[in-house]
């Protein structure tokens, strides 16, 4: 069963008197444990699409199912709950909470969202920090680690709840080439280890090269779907 199923998805915004269409009748599916990238120029609708998949922004029309749930008619509370249970986020600016240590940042979703017991939390967080190579940095605060390390922590935070889907909006935009490569490899490794689906919105050719499926968007329309083998579909 597909993890994400979008049918005739449409998103419009009212900008003053003008109705702006950000996404036009988009159809796609994303399978579990895949490494998918949405690419396209600025304003093409990549981030909007990612926000809709992430239950942050409801579609204006069409149907969108994530992990078997119709997310179109979820209210604010239900959407937050759904995100907490099924979706992890990795942001361009890392978005770690500055007053929490590395360990506590990764622990946050288990503590404040999923209410895990302390011993299970500790075990799971340590496991994830080890997996992203930050096992010995748990007591540091975000200001004490590098950008690449911050993004590793962000990946661990996204995966700590056993999320089925991780949405990453330009995750390498603020990293140098070498660090970006390491983060991409880390995410791939995490996908293999935890069977998590990674969906990116990016301009970064490194991510495009590594993605198994690349969706190209332009003016809110899905122009083509390109798979790992290089085959393109309209």
């Amino acid at each position: 069963m597909s993890l994400v199923v979008a049918e005739n998805l449409k998103k419009t915004y009212q900008l003053g008197d003008i109705l702006v269409t950000a996404i036009r009748d988009v159809n796609f599916t994303i399978e579990p444990a895949s490494f998918v990238s949405f690419v396209g120029p600025s304003g093409s609708g990549k981030s909007t699409l990612l926000n809709m998949i992430g239950c942050l922004d409801p579609p204006s029309m069409g149907s969108l199912q994530v992990a078997g749930r119709d997310i179109v008619r979820m209210d604010r509370q239900q959407a937050a709950q759904f995100r907490g249970e099924h979706i992890g986020f990795v942001f361009q600016d890392f978005n770690l909470i500055p007053v929490l240590t590395v360990f506590e940042n990764v622990e946050y979703p288990l503590l404040m969202v999923q209410n895990w017991p302390a011993s299970a939390r500790k075990k799971r967080v340590s496991e994830l920090l080890e997996a992203v190579g930050m096992g010995d940095q748990g007591n540091k605060y975000p200001r004490q680690i590098s950008g690449g390390q911050k993004q590793r922590v962000a990946v661990a935070r996204a995966l700590v709840t056993n999320a089925k889907l991780v949405l990453a909006d330009e995750p390498t935009a603020n990293l140098d080439g070498e660090t970006a490569n390491r983060i991409i490899q880390l995410m791939k490794k995490m996908r293999d280890e935890f069977n998590t689906t990674f969906v990116f919105s990016t301009h970064d050719p490194k991510i495009m090269r590594n993605a198994e499926i690349v969706f190209t968007l332009e003016d809110g329309q899905l122009l083509k779907r390109q798979n790992e083998e290089g085959g393109a579909h309209a």
């Binding site: 907490g84 935070r157 996204a158 709840t161």
Partner: protein
């Protein structure tokens, strides 16, 4: 909840200077209010004590209508022997009453054999009076401060008359009074002391023995104008007042009108209005404190939300429920309130102890060297603490609600 507190605490530590400034403001407000309450409270208590213990007593019983015409000191509104018996029996049966004193109040002509003036007199049974208003002897500024107050044939004269008529302790004087039938009688007295005058009813009256008054007024049997009552504990005043009022009002004359009236010191003394003003000032000071806390906490929390919009977007995106986001900010305001209040309360209590230890004195009217002895009840401290913390929480609710309702996408885009 502990985790919410932990994160809120760290956020407060993150903006240390702002937290320090805001909590200092709250601390100063709390200190100002608690010190004001304790000092004015002790001043009020001292003044009330002076008035009740040296003049009025805690309660007074009169014949109905006497108080309305007290300026004329009407002898025809005295309590008759049967009425006195009823009242004294009731007072004797009331456990909370420590003592009571029967008085006849009258107006007379005062002569030093060369000059004459008017005098208002309070006539008492000394043993009863000293028990009921124990500070009366302290008002004797010239002459011996005897435990027996005075004997038959002696008079305590008010300071003003002593000065105006140039009368000294040991001098002989004559009192001439009309009895209720209109006939006139005179009697000589020896001045045994001069009484300090204080404001309020009876504060500038002379004092003679009740038996002398009966002789002067040709009264036979027991007849009194008022009965002053002292309670064992002044906190029992409202309860005893209602019981006495109910009991005395149930005694009716043949026209079914109440025979007696009972009043507390509050109704009898003009100082009660000053006491009320002190209470009113305390209320205004409390309102100012509320305003300080409200504005400072709200300002800080609005800033906190504004500065952390991106962070709010992040925690909302990763699934933190709106209620929990709201709790994070409300707890932050709550902790700021707690911090300021705890420090303020500790400083206030230390200051109160220090003022007591220093033994500061002040003058009030003609009374000098009154020792400033501020005290504060646990009830007042708890009330202020709860008000401040409650307002701190209330002030955080609006910014916290705004944070909880924030659109995660807009928040994440915020730079």
């Amino acid at each position: 909840m502990l985790n919410v507190i932990k994160i809120a605490t760290r956020n407060l530590r993150r903006y240390q200077r702002r937290t320090l400034l805001t909590s200092t403001l709250i601390t100063l407000g709390v200190v100002a209010v608690l010190l004001f309450i304790s000092i004015t409270g002790s001043f009020k208590q001292m003044m009330v004590g002076q008035i009740t213990d040296s003049m009025i007593g805690h309660l007074q019983v009169h014949r109905k209508g006497y108080l309305a015409s007290i300026d004329n000191l009407p002898l025809n509104r005295n309590l008759n022997p049967q009425q006195v018996a009823k009242v004294t029996q009731l007072l004797g049966d009331t456990a909370e009453i420590e003592s009571f004193s029967m008085r006849i109040k009258l107006g007379a002509m005062f002569s030093n054999f060369t000059e004459t003036t008017n005098i208002r007199l309070n006539t008492v049974i000394p043993e009863q009076e000293v028990k009921t208003v124990p500070l009366l002897t302290d008002r004797i500024v010239q002459g011996e401060k005897k435990e027996t107050l005075l004997q038959k044939g002696q008079i305590l004269i008010p300071e003003l008359i002593a000065k105006g008529m140039k009368v000294k302790v040991g001098d002989g004087v004559v009192l001439v009074a009309n009895n209720k039938d209109g006939s006139v009688n005179g009697k000589t007295f020896t001045v045994s002391g001069v009484l300090e005058g204080i404001s309020g009813p009876g504060g500038r009256d002379g004092v003679i023995h009740l038996d002398d008054a009966k002789e002067l007024l040709r009264i036979s049997g027991v007849e009194v104008s008022e009965i002053a009552i002292r309670l064992k504990n002044m906190d029992d005043l409202p309860g005893v007042f209602s019981v006495l009022k109910a009991e005395l009002e149930s005694i009716r004359d043949k026209n079914d009108r109440p025979v007696f009236e009972v009043h507390t010191w509050e109704k009898l003394s003009p100082f009660y209005n000053i006491a009320k003003m002190i209470d009113l000032m305390t209320l205004f000071i409390k309102i100012m404190l509320v305003a300080i806390v409200l504005v400072s906490i709200m300002n800080v929390m609005i800033m906190a939300v504004y500065e952390r919009i991106n962070e709010i977007g992040t925690i909302a995106a990763i699934g933190t429920l709106p209620g929990k986001i709201m709790a994070l900010f409300v707890v932050e305001g709550f902790l700021l309130g707690v911090l300021g209040t705890v420090v303020g309360t500790v400083i206030s209590l230390i200051s109160i102890a220090a003022i007591n230890a220093a033994g500061l004195t002040f003058d009030f009217g003609r009374q000098s060297n009154l020792v400033l002895a501020p005290t504060i009840g646990a009830g007042d401290v708890i009330t202020i603490v709860l008000i401040v913390i409650g307002i701190a929480v209330a002030a955080s609710v609006q910014p916290a609600f705004k944070a909880a309702r924030m659109d995660p996408i807009a928040a994440l885009r915020h730079v």
